[in-house]
Symmetry: C2
Subunit: 280 residues, 2 copies
């Protein structure tokens, strides 16, 4: 795409004062696009933005997404592209497709606002695509972003594991240590590297925004199902341990060991590197 | 201690052909001690070793420890030191104290046989100490080992967290991924760093010996109790998630967040370093 065609586009970012919204608004401005934003305290309302933009990007917290989409659906400009930047895809895409006479894609940048855009992964779920969609993808590519295409269901299943299950496991360990009143600092002084890696990983998650993590766990139906599977697995292993049933424990261990064979060499290498990094 | 006094000592290592037993047997030999070993296929039996050694070190798998100690207790040389290198302490110390007229300490090297001895942590639980005990500690210090003193109960509680709970959490995640048949390689290509750190951590544990891990989980009564606490915590969080009860989820999250405050800056720094290490 050349600058001429981009100059014609108006890109509207709802939530344009948030860290992620601002990152994209500024980046598109730098590419020569006309960018307008709406946010809680802007003069432009979400409805005005929707009726005036060629690309409407919704960048609000997950828990606000449904109500924001419902608010703007009647006002979306004919022939425009409606898209979002949310960590779940089923709910927003379902809501966005209620807008008629416009293109619709779901989007999920797989990175936080602090790392910049270049070489970062960005999942796109194509729903109703046309000319404006092509312009949008071209803009993202000009920002150095790597696009990964996926269906809505595949996205939410993958994120149910990568975000949901991973965070669930970290939050559970953090909560257990808190419940038993464990002395973290004492533990650090006599710990094994594997424990330290785990402890710092939990600490990183618990330093974040609780609302984001509750949205990731609760708004993604696969994450909710995976939490149940995780509890079942932990209960099964715990039962074997408390029955002192070494045979059952080792059977579970060996099945998982076998399943992990594909990445065991890589795991040793990568964790060796991680251990060196925390020992420095 | 000077070499003269060490020359008088006979150190016997039961399980002296295993990786850990051999590491210590060789190290004491290098210090000028007279070292004898017994193992499954040695000419010297465990009983002969026990009746001829001034320091008797039991270095066998946890599941063999009780029977080996019971076998040698009637033969332990009067005035000698009986000690072990096992990852649990209540069970072996209880068994070793049944030997009369000898000194008894529990020992746990907090490292694997591949990393050498210098600057490594080694927990000692003093039970019945005297002159030979002093010689043993002096030898360990000459090897560059750092001694940490702890009661038997404190050791097993700490290891219940550092080994038991940490491994339990890793094994549970590995088992959940295996149960759902998740495509690890697909996940790697679109993963977040926090997920990758977690995945490789699980891969490292599952690459090890299942018997060691089943012994660590099952022979330590604190590890067994902590597994129950972990299941309770995961169930409580899972229930909040599946009831879509964001308030309860965030309350749990915030309590843990508050508890982790002491190490949150460190966690961010250390995990940033770990992320850099896996991206290389």
């Amino acid at each position: 795409m050349d600058t001429k065609s981009n100059e014609k586009l108006i890109i509207g970012v709802i939530g344009g004062k948030g860290a992620m919204g601002k990152l994209f608004a500024d980046a598109f401005t730098d590419l020569g696009c006309k960018v307008i934003i709406s946010d809680i305290d802007t003069e432009i309302t979400n409805k005005e933005l929707a009726s005036n933009s060629d690309i409407i990007i919704i960048s609000v917290p997950i828990r606000k997404t449904r109500e924001v989409i419902r608010e703007i659906v009647p006002f979306v400009k004919k022939g425009s592209l409606l898209t979002d930047l949310t960590s779940v895809k089923e709910m927003p895409v379902e809501e966005m497709t209620k807008a008629k006479d416009c293109e619709v894609v779901g989007g999920h940048p797989l990175f936080g606002p602090s790392v910049g855009l270049k070489n970062q992964n960005f999942i796109i779920c194509k729903e109703r695509t046309g000319e404006i969609y092509k312009e949008y993808i071209s803009l993202l590519e000009r920002l150095g972003i790597k696009i990964i295409y996926m269906s809505v269901a595949e996205h939410d299943m993958q994120m149910g594991v990568i975000q949901g299950l991973t965070h669930f496991s970290n939050i559970t360990l953090g909560n257990t240590l808190q419940n038993i009143g464990y002395d973290i600092e004492k533990g650090e002084s006599i710990s094994s590297p594997v424990y330290l890696m785990r402890l710092y990983g939990v600490g990183r998650i618990l330093d974040q925004d609780p609302e984001l993590y509750s949205d990731i766990q609760i708004e993604n139906k696969y994450a909710r199902e995976l939490a149940k599977k995780y509890v079942e697995s932990s209960k099964q292993i715990c039962d074997a341990v408390n029955a002192k049933d070494k045979e059952s424990f080792e059977k579970i261990f060996n099945k998982s060991k076998d399943y992990f064979k594909k990445i065991n060499k890589k795991s040793m290498k990568k964790t060796d590197d991680m251990i060196k990094a925390i020992n420095n």
